[in-house]
């Protein structure tokens, strides 16, 4: 159909927020031959949350952070999650003096969220550490695939393994600490033969203690084998895993958590899938940094959360950029093309795209990245940039908007210099901001004098 006015689909692409994720109707998954409906739209009203393991899983993939670094990261993470505690919890090792000192200093900041929890092995003696640290909850490693039960932990039988795990859970109850059972390697486990009976037993044990001690279940996709596709088989099917625990073992959604790994590039979508199928909490790390290929990226989960909720919900997305700058400053490498925080995540190189940006930044920018991340869209200058790319760079460099923007005619000397770099000097690399800045001073001295005070 012809139209005289554009339809920019702003119900879905509001620009002031990331594109919203909207659902039409329930989806159907066949489980044990039975059609089961899942109403994804209900996620908007569910109390879904993010948890964090930057200091535990995230730290297993790098040299240790210093105490000061962790306190700074925790502080920024609290700002990011906002007063509603969208980032509800983060977990700490408790084994060394530095571990415990870090925990104390983070708590001394006085933030309500993220709540601090611990992480220990499935050893009864380790609860002393949790208790001494004054924590209300701790993760407990309860690996559940036979790879772990027999090959790694050398149990003689599943029954022996389950008994040992349950003894540890009893010890947690006795210490007044809520155990969060980490079902390690669940996507490679015998679901009917071990996982469901174990979780049934945990729920039975939980029914004997006050609610605040009842067991939480973390589904750990340790090797990234989880699959989001409808129709996939157990144990790899995330929908079926969550349904079985939620509906057959009666683990409430708010006591279910998904912990993924990125070995097959599925980590972010798998986390979102867990939310949709009834697991309230997705466990993440900052910038996805974690064991081997990493975990669901916290900042990705944040934008997924906003997209599902259609609202910022108190989240301060600006803190993401500050966290990235801080992580870079302490030596964490973030690839230039990494979403939301890489140096070039919203940088376009093609001149024809730069022309689009010049006309309306929404054409080639995913959302208002300046408002939400303090990162206006940029162009990188190469032989493909053309005069449109150069003029966009200059305007962005000086921070000029609307009527103040310089037109292409005024930058012709700079555009000529750029083109000659490639046509006359056979250059093969992109031109750096520093080179362009020097050339702006030389070739556009009037503009330099006029606007240099506005440079960030």
């Amino acid at each position: 159909m012809d139209a005289k006015e554009p339809n920019l689909l702003q119900d879905t692409y509001p620009y002031s927020l990331p594109p919203l994720i909207r659902f039409e109707r329930p989806v159907v998954e066949y489980i044990d031959g039975k059609a089961v409906e899942f109403d994804f739209g209900a996620v908007k009203d569910r109390n879904i949350l993010i948890s964090d393991t930057t200091f535990r899983d995230g730290q297993q993939a790098r040299p240790p952070y210093t105490i000061d670094q962790m306190v700074r990261i925790y502080d920024l993470m609290s700002r990011l999650g906002g007063p509603n505690g969208v980032i509800r919890q983060t977990e700490f090792f408790l084994y060394t003096k530095n571990d415990r000192e870090t925990l104390d200093q983070c708590r001394a900041l006085g933030h309500k969220y993220p709540e601090c929890t611990g992480w220990i092995r499935a050893l009864k003696g380790d609860f002393r550490l949790v208790k001494e640290a004054g924590l209300k909850e701790t993760g407990v490693l309860t690996s559940c695939s036979d790879y772990h039960i027999f090959q790694k932990s050398k149990f003689r039988s599943r029954a022996e393994c389950m008994d040992r795990y349950c003894e540890v859970v009893e010890a947690a109850f006795a210490e007044g600490v809520r155990p969060r059972c980490h079902l390690e390697d669940v996507t490679r486990a015998d679901i009917d033969g071990f996982v469901l009976p174990f979780v049934d037993r945990l729920m039975e044990m939980s029914s004997q203690v006050p609610d605040e001690l009842s067991v939480k279940i973390r589904l750990c996709d340790t090797m990234g084998f989880g699959i989001s596709y409808p129709g996939a088989e157990l144990p790899r099917s995330i929908p079926k895993l969550i349904y079985k625990l939620n509906q057959e073992c009666d683990v409430p959604s708010d006591r279910l958590e998904w912990h993924g790994h990125n070995d097959f590039h599925k980590v972010h979508t798998n986390g979102g899938t867990a939310w949709l199928y009834g697991c309230d909490v997705v466990n993440t790390t900052l910038f996805g940094f974690g064991e081997r290929t990493g975990n669901p990226p916290l900042e990705g989960a944040i934008f997924e959360y906003i997209a599902l909720k259609g609202d910022l919900c108190g989240i301060d997305t600006m803190a993401i950029t500050e966290l990235a700058d801080y992580m870079r400053s302490i030596g964490l490498p973030i690839p230039d093309n990494y979403p939301f925080v890489g140096r070039s995540f919203n940088t376009t190189r093609a001149g024809i795209h730069a022309d689009g940006l010049r006309r309306d930044e929404q054409i080639y920018n995913i959302f208002d990245t300046e408002k939400l991340l303090n990162r206006p869209p940029r162009v990188a200058i190469t032989d493909k940039s053309g005069t449109d790319g150069v003029v966009h760079w200059v305007n962005e460099f000086f921070g000029l908007k609307g009527e103040d923007r310089i037109n292409k005619i005024k930058i012709h000397k700079l555009a000529r210099w750029v083109i000659d770099q490639y046509d006359e000097h056979d250059r093969l690399t992109a031109i750096s901001d520093q080179e362009l800045e020097a050339k702006v001073k030389e070739l556009m001295p009037d503009y330099w004098e006029k606007y240099k005070g506005s440079l960030k």
Binding site: G386, T387, N407, K408, I409, K410, I411, H412, A415, R416, I419
Partner: protein, 86 residues
């Protein structure tokens, strides 16, 4: 004083590295004289400098031939009070 046409042809020849005598009023800057994208911008910038005028970017860049450029520049000069030889 040279006419607008002569000055336009002189600037065009200089920017596009051509002989001014070979430039005709009906010549298209791009199709006949071979102006590339950046040269179109340079032409507008040089016309502004030559005549001491400011031209609207989109309007100036939409001018296709030398003859139309002469007319456009003469009109802008008149609007901006710049004396030129017709």
């Amino acid at each position: 004083m040279a006419t607008v046409e002569e000055r336009v042809k002189e600037v065009t020849a200089q920017v596009l590295k051509l002989n001014p005598d070979e430039i005709k009023l009906e010549d298209s800057f791009t199709a006949d004289l071979g102006a590339e994208s950046v040269q179109s911008i340079e032409l507008v910038a040089m016309f502004e400098e030559e005549f001491g005028i400011e031209m609207d970017e989109d309007a100036a860049l939409s001018v296709e031939t030398v003859g139309k450029a002469v007319e456009f520049i003469a009109q802008v000069c008149e609007e901006q009070g710049v004396d030129v030889e017709q």
